[in-house]
Symmetry: C2
Subunit: 231 residues, 2 copies
């Protein structure tokens, strides 16, 4: 049986793909080139697809710069360190409007064309950094949309959205990935890497990742410019 | 107050935009270049934006050819006439997987960036041609996704999806558009136009449009190669 896995090239989606593989699915990886600053993610996703023996890896171009609104796709500066907004439980500047809705819509469309009935997404709620579209209730609502708005839903039982990391902490995700043999050195998490691909060690995504490896008692094999100790 | 209107350049979305204008909204039109064969739609959308005095018109590029699956975006032939599948209530080959989910996700993202709380879509269920993602229950499910997955939903009351044509027949849409002064001559509906922009008069979209004008007792100002009398 086939599964579509949303593969950003980051740590979480790679562990989600490894879970799908462990569960016996044939992997169809889907990446989205949405004009993000950190395009190295896409190269990372390709290496991950190869390492996990995915049957296919598609990259859909979706240029979100036309609608703007995020530090990841526009000229807004990527914030360093956890921001005041986030510490107060708010939504960070790196939030891409409706991103997961878009990603899941593409994944469901792709699932329809390849005949997959399952979509994996690496969303998780614990270290979700204030993104509203990583919450379980959002994912359940999206499943209803996928059922009502797709051919698969009309003709059969719809397309299931699986988010196996949803309740895990970053440290638990890293432990799970380690057990599944995930090649963490291939994954890319930094929002603001150098030209040569080193992670900045200071953006939100780097800080969460470093914190996770530390909490899991493991060393992050990614290359960093400098590693600030996370607060 | 602002509204985002999904504007394909076709008849329905143009009437939906005219309704939004009548209701006092400032229009932010959003078109999606999803690799469709009938790219003239996008030019039509631009002309419509001008005619309706929209404040803004954005075109987002989303190349769905990477995931395939529809006669509108791939090498599958566009069917002529109403197919057996459709007569039996099935889903036609021109169905684009998860199209409205994608369009609405983009519209909600754009609404967030411009501060609009309303999205208009020209979906309608009567002449919906078998597309599952034009049904009212789909649109209600999407509203839940938009509420749970957006900044607007977390911080306020979410983003409303309005589909003012949802229960209207094509003839009623044409009558409504006529009352609102919609420039039908600017709209483009054909899935398979000639190089010079004439509608084929034979594809599903042309047949529904011609049938609608006939039922409304009006003449379609669009240019056709030949107009088959609709069965």
């Amino acid at each position: 049986m086939k599964a579509v896995v949303l593969a950003s090239g980051g740590l979480d989606s790679t562990v989600a793909a490894a879970v799908a593989r462990r569960d016996g699915y044939r992997l169809h990886l889907l990446s989205v080139d949405y004009g993000q600053r950190h395009r190295r993610e896409l190269d990372a996703a390709g290496r991950v697809a190869q390492a996990l023996a995915a049957e296919d890896h598609r990259i859909v171009a979706l240029d979100l710069r036309a609608i703007g609104g995020s530090a990841l796709t526009s000229e807004l500066a990527v914030p360093k360190g956890r921001s005041e907004t986030q510490r107060a439980g708010g939504i960070p500047a790196t939030y891409v409007p409706a991103r997961n809705t878009l990603l899941l819509a593409l994944a469901v469309g792709y699932a329809e064309t390849v005949g997959a009935r399952t979509v994996f997404i690496g969303a998780n709620v614990i270290d979700y950094s204030g993104y509203p579209d990583c919450r379980p209730e959002f994912l359940r609502a999206f499943e209803a949309v996928a059922r009502l708005g797709s051919k698969a839903g009309v003709e059969g039982r719809g397309i299931e959205i699986k988010a196996p990391l949803i309740e895990l902490s970053k440290a638990q995700i890293i432990e799970l990935g380690t057990r599944l043999g995930v090649p963490f050195e291939l994954t890319h998490s930094c929002y603001d890497p150098t030209e040569s691909g080193e992670a900045c060690g200071q953006c939100d995504s780097c800080l969460i990742r470093l914190e996770g490896f530390r909490a899991a008692g493991r060393t992050d094999p990614a290359r960093y410019v400098r590693t600030l100790s996370p607060r």
